[in-house]
Symmetry: none
Subunit: 226 residues, 2 copies
């Protein structure tokens, strides 16, 4: 869960950052409006926490910009001003929620979660297969490992999907040849080996633990170790 905190008061921002990280949010902090704008537009945050009073640009204006460029990223406004009219202009600028300083940290977290929950309810994640930290998104047709996006070719995808649907089971070359390549009888081919190699390069090469194991004389398994 990625959060961008836009706040110039060191004390407040580090308080928030630390607290959110303990809740295992990934937090970026921006101290002024221009940096914030660049960050917000170049990356995809799940939610943005925005103080109204920041250097560089007015918080309301920044909010408007963010909402124009990324309407689906929720913004929660933060401020010391507290009259209703201030809240209203925050909402007018497109903010999704509003929090008055000083606030209780738990309330911030609760409101963040509501905003994120709301969004992910609509995005409605398609089917995803998992094994350890490896994920395969069947709709987007991409794999993830440690949040790194891994593109796969069609055959690689089919092969990996098969393994993810048969975790911990040793699968023989001939079964793979049959199920993935539709090779019904023994030809002299080594496609399976070649593709296992390509898959490993994408999925295991740069990561630990290795997930695709060889069982000599038997086949391959999707498994952590031995």
């Amino acid at each position: 869960m990625k959060v961008l905190v836009i706040e110039d008061e060191q004390q407040v921002s580090s308080f928030i950052k630390q607290g959110l990280e303990e809740q295992s949010f990934a937090v970026d902090v921006a101290f002024d409006g221009n940096i914030a704008e660049r960050l917000a537009l170049s990356r995809d945050y799940d939610v943005i926490v925005l103080d109204i009073v920041i250097p560089g640009i007015n918080g309301f204006d920044l909010c408007r910009i963010l909402k124009r460029e990324k309407p689906s990223t929720p913004v929660i406004m933060l401020t010391t001003l507290g009259t209703t009219s201030d809240k209203l202009s925050g909402f007018d600028a497109g903010a999704d929620d509003y929090l008055l300083k000083p606030f209780e940290f738990e309330e911030l977290v609760a409101r963040l979660k509501v905003l994120v929950r709301r969004r992910s309810a609509t995005t409605d994640y398609g089917k995803v297969l998992r094994f350890e930290d490896l994920k395969l998104d069947l709709e987007k047709k991409v794999a993830h490992r440690y949040d790194k996006i891994i593109k796969l070719s069609a055959k690689e995808f089919t092969l990996l999907e098969f393994f993810l649907r048969n975790p911990q089971r040793v699968i023989s070359r001939s079964e793979l040849a049959e199920k993935i390549w539709d090779i019904k009888f023994e030809t002299g081919t080594n496609v399976v080996e070649v593709y296992m190699n390509m898959l490993r390069n994408k999925i295991d090469r740069d990561f630990e633990p290795k997930l695709l194991q060889t069982r000599i004389g038997m086949g391959y398994v999707l498994s952590k170790d031995i």
Copy 2:
């Protein structure tokens, strides 16, 4: 815009009802939990205002029920209790916002509007589908990108609409052929490619980022990158 107000204090409920009606909301009021439940489940409200302390059933429990039955109808909680932990249990029960009594009427209206706006941004309430800076006006039958108006032919329109209703999902040629052209079995045609090409010329050619991606061997996706 239909609002259900669940509140047993006559004074408060009629204050809200009158105020909201002046803002041209259509307001129903329920004085106890059971009536509220029946009303809420039998009609479609745009937003529900729910007092925690009501006769008949606990407000938190009612909130949970409402959220289970109609998860997309936003609920805003109202209460005199004001500690953070109360707010948290409200959010846990699935509330989308929280307001402490006594509140300023303008703030209630502002928060209601935000909740409704948020929903209509996600539900295909209005007649506009969006993805990034691409918009498709279902009534005027035109697309926009960076405020440039793009005219589409009927087939192009249908095709783009399908993508906008399935963002981030890789869609195979055969699915497109079936859903858009009603081609049920494999003919040797390449209409899909040709139309993707035409769509791209209108929608992606002169803009960044490109939104229509090819996944060789799999299909096409409406997506920013990768």
